[in-house]
C-alpha cells in the first residue's frame, strides 16, 4: 500500500467511547497518549501543536513546556489501542472491523479496498483487482463502440448511451441517449395540467391533456387568475413595506403616548363598567317609581274614604228629608180629616191652618232644623 499515514483521529469506533479516554483537544479517543506535569492527558500530536502556539496547558492554563510532557501510562495506551474500529475504507465497501492497533496491518496486507500500483502500467487499482490482468487497457464498448478502460467498464454500462432502455411509461425500447428526450414527448407519461401552478389538480397521461384542457376551468380563467396573482404579489410587497414602516413607527408612539392605544381588553373593561353604571341607575329609578306608586295609592285611598263618608252623610240627610216630607204629608192628611171633623166642610189647605195647631207646626219646623244640622255632619 501507499506510504499514506492513517488518520487515527478520523477513525470510526464501533461503540461510543468513555469521554475520559478522549483528548480534550481533538475530542476523539486518545492517539499515542501523553500526560503533562499538571496531570492532563492528550494525544501527542495535539499537545505538540498546541504548545507551538501557547506554552500553557490547554485545560488549566498552567505554564507548560515540551519537556513537561511524557508518554502516558501503558495501561491508558492499551485501553485506547484496543478499542474496536471500522476499517477506514468502510465507505468504499470494506466491512472489516478490528482493534485499533491492528488497523495498520489490515490496510497494508488485507484490505481489498486499498489502492495499489498496477503491476503492468503503474496506474491505481484496488487490491481486489490487482491480481488480474491490467485493467487500464482500453476496450471497445459493444453497444456504443466507445473505447473505455476495463476498470471503468462497470460504471460505463450504467450509462452507456448505446444500450437500449425501456420507457417506464409506454414500455418502448429505445436507446438510452434518447430516453430522456422521449420522456418529454411520451404520450403515456404522467404530466400535470399546464395550469397546475394556478391550482388545477388534474394529472394524467399526456395524450389526454388536450381533452382536459378543452374543459379545464383553470386554463379558461388563466388570464384573470394570472392578473390576480400579480396583484396579490404586488399587494403583499406593499403590505410588507407598510408593516416595516409601522414597526419603525410603533416604538416611537409607545414612548410618546403610552395611554393612547387601548388594548381590546381595556375597551371591553370600559364597556363593562359603563354597563354596570347604567344597571345601577335603572335599579334606583325603579325603586323611586315603586315609592311613588305607594304614595299615590295612599292619597287615592284617603281621598276616596272622605268621599265615601260624605256620601254616607248625604245619604243620611236625604233620608231625613224624605222622612220629613213623609211626616208633612201625613200631617196634612190628618189636618184635612180634622177639619172635616171640626168644620164639617172641605176648604182650601192654606186657609185651613187654624190657631188650633200652632204648636204642632212649630214642632215640625224644629225637627227639620235638626235634620238640617244632621246633613252638616
Amino acid at each position: 500500500m501507499d506510504s499514506e499515514q492513517i488518520d487515527y483521529q478520523s477513525l470510526n469506533y464501533l461503540s461510543t467511547v468513555d469521554h475520559n479516554l478522549c483528548c480534550p483537544i481533538c475530542r476523539s479517543p486518545l492517539v499515542d497518549p501523553v500526560y503533562t506535569t499538571c496531570l492532563h492527558t492528550f494525544c501527542s500530536t495535539c499537545i505538540n501543536k498546541a504548545l507551538e502556539r501557547s506554552q500553557t496547558c490547554p485545560v488549566d492554563r498552567t505554564p507548560l513546556q515540551a519537556e513537561d510532557v511524557s508518554p502516558a501510562p501503558i495501561m491508558i495506551a492499551n485501553l485506547v489501542n484496543e478499542l474496536a474500529v471500522l476499517c477506514p475504507n468502510s465507505e468504499l465497501g470494506c466491512t472489516f472491523t478490528c482493534a485499533r492497533y491492528l488497523v495498520e496491518a489490515h490496510l497494508s496486507h488485507d484490505c481489498e479496498f486499498v489502492y495499489m500500483k498496477c503491476r503492468e502500467c503503474g496506474d491505481k487499482v484496488l487490491r481486489r483487482d490487482a491480481g488480474r490482468e491490467c485493467l487500464h487497457q482500453l476496450e471497445e464498448c459493444t453497444h456504443c463502440f466507445q473505447h473505455i478502460k476495463k476498470i471503468d467498464m462497470e460504471a460505463h454500462e450504467k450509462e452507456c448511451p448505446g444500450l437500449l432502455g425501456e420507457c417506464m411509461h409506454c414500455r418502448l425500447e429505445i436507446e438510452r441517449s434518447e430516453l430522456k428526450e422521449h420522456e418529454f414527448t411520451c404520450e403515456e407519461a404522467t404530466i400535470s395540467c399546464s395550469s397546475s401552478s394556478l391550482g388545477c389538480p388534474w394529472s394524467g397521461q399526456r395524450k389526454e391533456l388536450s381533452h382536459h384542457q378543452a374543459a379545464c376551468p383553470f386554463t379558461f380563467l388563466r388570464p384573470v387568475l394570472q392578473a390576480h396573482a400579480e396583484r396579490l404579489t404586488k399587494l403583499e410587497l406593499e403590505n410588507r413595506t407598510l408593516r416595516k414602516r409601522i414597526e419603525q413607527l410603533t416604538p416611537r408612539i409607545n414612548q410618546s403616548n403610552t395611554t393612547e392605544p387601548l388594548s381590546f381588553d381595556e375597551q371591553a373593561y370600559q364597556f363593562l363598567t359603563e354597563q354596570e353604571h347604567m344597571r345601577q341607575d335603572m335599579e334606583r329609578l325603579s325603586a323611586t317609581l315603586g315609592e311613588l306608586e305607594i304614595k299615590q295609592g295612599m292619597l287615592l285611598m284617603n281621598e276616596s274614604l272622605r268621599t265615601k263618608e260624605e256620601l254616607a252623610g248625604i245619604r243620611a240627610a236625604i233620608n231625613g228629608i224624605r222622612m220629613q216630607i213623609h211626616w208633612l204629608l201625613t200631617v196634612r192628611v190628618h189636618g184635612t180629616e180634622h177639619r172635616h171633623v171640626v168644620g164639617g166642610g172641605a176648604g182650601t189647605p192654606s186657609n185651613s191652618a187654624g190657631p188650633s195647631h200652632p204648636a204642632e207646626h212649630s214642632a215640625s219646623r224644629r225637627l227639620s232644623d235638626n235634620f238640617g244640622q244632621g246633613v252638616k255632619l
Binding site: 478520523s10 480534550p24 483537544i25 475530542r27 476523539s28 501543536k49 498546541a50 507551538e52 490547554p58 492554563r61
Partner: protein, 150 residues
C-alpha cells in the same frame, strides 16, 4: 478544502442535538465551518428580550486557533465595537484548544450580562459607561429595542 475534522463534526452534532438554552448555532449547508448564531440577551441586563445575530467561522487550523466571531446585530456595549467585533480574552490571547464553540458562545452571553468598561473596545461607549452608567444602560436598552427585536 480538506475533509472536516471529526472534532468539528462532533461539536456541530452536539450543538444541534443538545443546544445551549438561549443560544442557537446552525452551520451553513455549503460551508460547514460557517455558522449562523443567535444569542438571547441575558435576563435582567439591558439586552434582555433582545435576540442578537452573530456570525462564527472556524478557521482552517481550528481548534489550534480560535473561532472568528462577530456581532451582526447592532449592539451598544463597551466591549463590542461598531463592526461587531468582540473584545474577549478567550477569543484572543487566552484561547485554548480545549475550549469549544458552545463554551465561547456562553462566555459571549455572559459578557452581555457583565459589561467591562475597564477593558474597552468601543472607546466612546466605555467612556459613557464610566461617566453615566444609568444613561448608558438606557441607551443599550433602547438599541436592543430598535435593533434586536423581531
Amino acid at each position: 478544502m480538506a475533509a472536516l475534522p471529526k472534532r468539528i463534526i462532533k461539536e456541530t452534532e452536539r450543538l444541534v442535538a443538545d443546544p445551549v438554552p438561549g443560544i442557537n448555532a446552525t452551520p451553513h449547508e455549503d460551508n460547514l465551518r460557517y455558522f449562523d448564531v443567535t444569542i438571547h440577551g441575558p435576563a435582567s441586563s439591558p439586552y434582555e428580550e433582545g435576540i442578537f445575530r452573530l456570525e462564527l467561522f472556524l478557521p482552517e487550523d481550528y481548534p489550534m486557533s480560535p473561532p472568528k466571531i462577530r456581532f451582526l446585530t447592532k449592539i451598544y456595549h463597551p466591549n463590542i465595537d461598531k463592526l461587531g467585533r468582540i473584545c474577549l480574552d478567550v477569543l484572543k490571547t487566552n484561547w485554548s484548544p480545549a475550549l469549544q464553540i458552545r463554551t465561547i458562545l456562553l462566555s459571549i452571553q455572559a459578557l452581555l450580562g457583565a459589561p467591562n468598561p475597564e477593558d474597552p473596545l468601543a472607546n466612546d461607549v466605555a467612556q459613557r459607561w464610566k461617566e453615566d452608567e444609568k444613561a448608558a444602560i438606557e441607551t443599550a436598552r433602547e438599541w436592543t429595542r430598535t435593533h434586536a427585536t423581531v
